[in-house]
């Protein structure tokens, strides 16, 4: 995925906070806890074939990726939201969630790096 090679980009977060490092750090730490939680929720609901809930989770988390320079993941979540809403159990749902696991693992590593650099 394109964003993985580019790394995360916190420019938008900085702009929105008026260049407050304190706020950026607070947000990045929030990503560190919220992203794994969302990922676990998606995986659990995939096991339960609860596609409606998958759609709701995707809807909830989709804007967050755009603020760390990952608009492609936002688009991916939009697709997951749409597929989940249909509740037909489209096989692509499983593919997207599995891919997302890798994306999130890498993103968490990058966030850790950015946090270290900001300190």
């Amino acid at each position: 995925m394109a964003h993985l090679s580019k790394g995360i980009d916190i420019t938008l977060l900085q702009e929105l906070s008026g260049n407050s490092t304190e706020f950026v750090l607070e947000m990045l730490r929030m990503y560190l806890t919220q992203l794994p939680e969302a990922m676990s929720e998606l995986e659990e609901n995939l096991t339960d074939n609860n596609y409606k809930r998958i759609s709701e989770i995707a809807h909830r988390i989709k804007p967050n990726f755009a603020y760390i320079g990952m608009p492609e993941t936002t688009e991916l979540m939009q697709k997951l939201e749409r597929l989940g809403r249909d509740q037909a159990g489209d096989p692509e749902i499983k593919t997207i969630i599995n891919n997302l696991g890798g994306v999130i693992s890498n993103t968490l590593l990058e966030i850790h790096n950015v946090i270290e650099n900001l300190h």
Binding site: L16, S17, F23, M30, Q34, H59, P63, A66
Partner: protein, 403 residues
């Protein structure tokens, strides 16, 4: 005082706008919250569920931002409940997608704005909030003005932060609750009449009559009858019984303005009224008991008049139960700006203008440089005239015409 500080006085109170954001995603909610807090005088509270928000709605937010897709209640339900609670709260809806049906439903149900959650959403939400903040702030200003006008008469001219006016206000607060006779002194236009009314309005007698008599405005030969009343046939032209001002004010307060204009004979009669708390109508021998609080005012130096034999010494000391001296406006520093701002807003309010006037820095300097011989009354006239002369909403120094 700096120009910025002067402008702050003119702008009046800084209002904090209370914003409630209902957003289930903590990261997104915090981004929205931070962006708003960084851009103005806002108190932003974030709720992650509709239930939490509804339980806090009683504290009445100024503006609400509602996510259309919440886990517990729908955005439309929250919109409806918010407007049922208070239909004046501007509600801004946020949604993950531009669903035309949802947009129409939101607006139909009373939403004031609809924002799609894309990367510009924080700025879009901020822009929307700024728009509604203006309305909310103006409403708060109007409410403040109304309460000032309705509840506290003294604030009409006793607005200010100078030590001299704060001392007066402290004295007033002490004397208002007593039954003491009060003498108000001060130059013409300093607000003696307003202070007198304030004493009455804030006293235990506030539900009873408040009667004003301007001693300088009544012909000498009529003044006794005017104050104490007369019986039918008491003098030529007295074809019916008439109640005097003191009787009219019974159980309430009487304000004797320009007491220094009273002639010596009447001063003797007034002294007797004050001592004996009774009056006798002209043409009658019957004494009528009175329960009147007397408030008097003068712009003259009564002590000097006493020394010159123009004012009775015993009456002077009787009247001076409690002395309040109103400072001239030239000694009140930046109170000029506070009062100018107050008169400007009151005038705009009375005239239902579309946009409130403001005062330019040059005009501020002109107002501060003048020594205001006509005091608050003169300032009020100058400010009101400037609003008529001004071509723009910002009053320029040329619009301030001082004679």
């Amino acid at each position: 005082m700096t120009i910025i500080a002067q402008q702050q006085i003119l702008m009046g109170k800084a209002y904090i706008t209370s914003i409630y954001i209902i957003e289930d995603d903590l990261i997104y909610g915090r981004i929205l919250q931070k962006n708003i807090e960084s851009n103005g005088n806002y108190d932003v509270t974030l709720f992650q569920t509709g239930i939490d928000y509804l339980s806090a709605l009683n504290s009445t937010p100024d503006i609400v931002s509602i996510d259309c897709n919440l886990p517990d209640l729908s955005g439309l339900e929250l919109l409806q409940k918010t407007l049922e609670f208070n239909d004046e709260i501007p509600c801004i809806m946020l949604s993950g997608q531009e669903d035309i049906n949802m947009v129409v439903q939101c607006y139909r149900n009373g939403a004031r704005d609809y924002i799609v959650k894309n990367t510009t959403a924080p700025q879009d939400l901020l822009a929307s909030i700024l728009k509604f903040t203006k309305i909310v702030t103006q409403k708060k200003e109007l409410e403040d003005l109304k309460s000032q006008i309705i509840n506290r008469v003294r604030y009409q001219t006793l607005l200010g932060e100078s030590n001299s006016i704060l001392s007066v206000i402290r004295l007033l607060q002490k004397v208002e609750k007593t039954e003491m006779m009060v003498l108000i002194t001060g130059e013409s236009g300093t607000g003696k009449e307003v202070v007198a009314k304030s004493i009455h309005v804030n006293s235990r007698r506030y539900k009873e009559s408040y009667v004003t008599v301007n001693m300088a405005a009544i012909p000498v030969d009529l003044i006794e009858s005017e104050l104490f009343g007369h019986e039918k046939g008491a003098f030529t032209g007295a074809d019916s019984r008439r109640i005097g001002k003191f009787e009219e004010a019974n159980f309430g307060s009487i304000f004797l303005d320009e007491i220094g204009e009273m002639d010596l004979l009447l001063q003797t009669k007034l002294l007797r009224v004050l001592q004996e708390k009774t009056i006798t109508r002209v043409g009658s021998n019957k004494e009528i008991k009175l329960n009147v609080r007397v408030i008097a005012a003068t712009n003259k130096d009564l002590l000097k008049m006493v020394k010159e034999g123009k004012f009775r010494e015993d009456l002077y000391y009787r009247l001076q139960g409690f002395l309040i001296h109103l400072p001239p406006l030239r000694d009140r520093g930046n109170d000029v700006l506070i009062l100018a701002n107050h008169f400007l807003k009151s005038f705009d309010l009375d005239n239902k203008v579309i946009a409130f006037h403001s005062i330019s820095n040059a005009a501020i300097q002109k107002l501060l440089a003048h020594n205001w011989p006509g005091n608050v009354r003169e300032l009020k006239n100058v400010v009101e005239r400037s609003t008529i002369i001004a071509d723009e909403v910002e009053i320029q120094d040329d619009d301030i015409i001082i004679h």
